[in-house]
């Protein structure tokens, strides 16, 4: 691996870790500020086909903003009390680089504790990270949950 590739790999992994830390500490506004205005954020159910198949989430920036408004409203009962969430990010790999966009794959284990129960979600995650200034913004994030086609519990925290 070239020095540039090592550096890029380190850089994107560090970004994913910091993103996960914001989600795990409920810093939703700060997380939202990582999202590009034209972000496509999705949690498909089964094979991704947002035009023809219902998904768990197919969000644009507006929908993500609404999720944060809801979570901050004090009346989001499905998050009252809040889920305790821990993202474990692994297997970070740079898949492609196209201009200023880096496509990154990772695997994530998302542990969520709420209502006296621990739920475990695992997923294959892809990010399109777009360079802005010295850092990145998230242009696309897709979480393919291994359990996406099971009856799922409460995914109203931010994944």
């Amino acid at each position: 691996m070239s020095a540039a590739a090592v550096e890029l790999s380190f850089e994107v992994a560090d970004f994913l870790y910091r993103e996960a830390a914001l989600l795990d500490t409920e810093q939703y506004d700060a997380w939202l500020s990582l999202c590009a205005e034209d972000i496509a954020y999705s949690i498909p159910q089964g094979t991704p086909d947002p035009l023809r198949r219902v998904g768990i989430a197919n969000d644009d920036h507006r929908r993500l903003t609404e999720r944060v408004i809801r979570l901050n409203s004090g009346f989001a009962y499905s998050q009252e009390p809040r889920s305790k969430v821990v993202h474990v990010v692994g297997n970070v790999r740079v898949l492609a680089q196209d201009g200023d966009v880096v496509t990154v794959a990772s695997t994530q284990v998302i542990a969520e504790v709420r209502r006296g129960r621990q739920n475990l979600y695992t997923g294959l995650v892809e990010h399109d990270l777009r360079r802005v200034g010295a850092g990145f913004e998230i242009a696309r994030k897709e979480l393919r949950l291994a359990s996406s086609e099971l009856p799922l519990g409460n995914l109203t925290f931010l994944l």
Binding site: R52, R70, S73, F75, T156
Partner: protein, 397 residues
Amino acid sequence: MTQIDPAGLITDDWQINGAVYTDDAVFRTEMDQVFRQVWLYVAHESQLRNPGDYLTTYAGTQPVIVSRGRDDDEIHVMLNRCRHRGATVCQAESGNANFFRCAYHGWTYTNSGGLRGVTYDQGYEKLDRDALGLVRVARVETYAGFVFANFSPEGPSLSEYLGHAAPYLDLVAQQGPEGIRIDAGAHHLQYDGNWKLQVENTIDNYHFGFVHRSFLEVLTDRIGSPPPIIRNILQDDTWRTIDLGNGHSVHEFGDPANGNNGGQLGDLPFNLIVFPNLCFVGAQLRHVLPLQANRTQVRLYPMLHEGLSDEENAAILRTHEGFYGPAGMGGADDVEIAFDRVSDGMRATEHDWLIMSRGLHREQPTGDGRIVGRADDELPQRAFYRGWLAAMAGAGS
């Protein structure tokens, strides 16, 4: 088995005993009485367009296959259970097949249920193959594209059973320029509570401003001012609930052919409950599947519009996802409060009664078997339990 007296569980002034939701004997009686004598929704014709198409679902708690026969082009509803040793013969949620083959010992059935082959059949002295097809649910009928099955060979026809609910199913079927189709998948949710909690919550306008307050804040931000839904529920006389008889009920947002709810949950201009476990809300067909007294699965099928582009139908899906499903900004609050917290609270059985009398004093019979109430009344719940009591009758004798 414990005998129960359903009529004793609901008082004349509409208090409902918690046992209706929590008692295993009540649940078993429901499965024996209600779900084996009324018409049960099983599929929509758009899921079974071609000969050989099939899907698997549940009629009450019983796994069934619904198929369009390869040979006869008829819709068949049969138990998903091999006649030999009981294994399910079809595993997929949907597909197209000529045969269903049991993987246990290789017995094979045609896709319309006939027993086609028995492996190494010299091991049986005699076998009446004609009598060993997959067991059929006694009656199958279709109304406006919605396929229903009935375990009871006798009783009212589907259109008699639907009665005043039938015109609303016609309106659902006419939603798109060329009708509707159900082929976009479904959200599945499961909760530790009784199936009737989900049905009752389907038309409960009283709860909307409380449970969905966070969604109202989102809408306020989205449209720039507080949405009119709560004002309409409390003040608009054209928003009304109607007991349609036989356990069915509707809530109309104005004219059921042209009214609307502001489109933030989907465009259907009414919420409809077809007794016992089929509901229509927003853009979705909701199929409520009882599992146990305290365990329920719900499937939410977005209804796409025939004659619209993929992009236009995608907008229907996005609106649906905004409120419903595991990450929806509304449905999850119903699960939390109307199912989980209610189920937790009903473990306090020292005084085991709920109050379902809201609007009882202002019910207005129309003279044709329907009863009209205000939008925020518990009239749909009483409509449901009137149907429930009738279907449960005889269980205690």
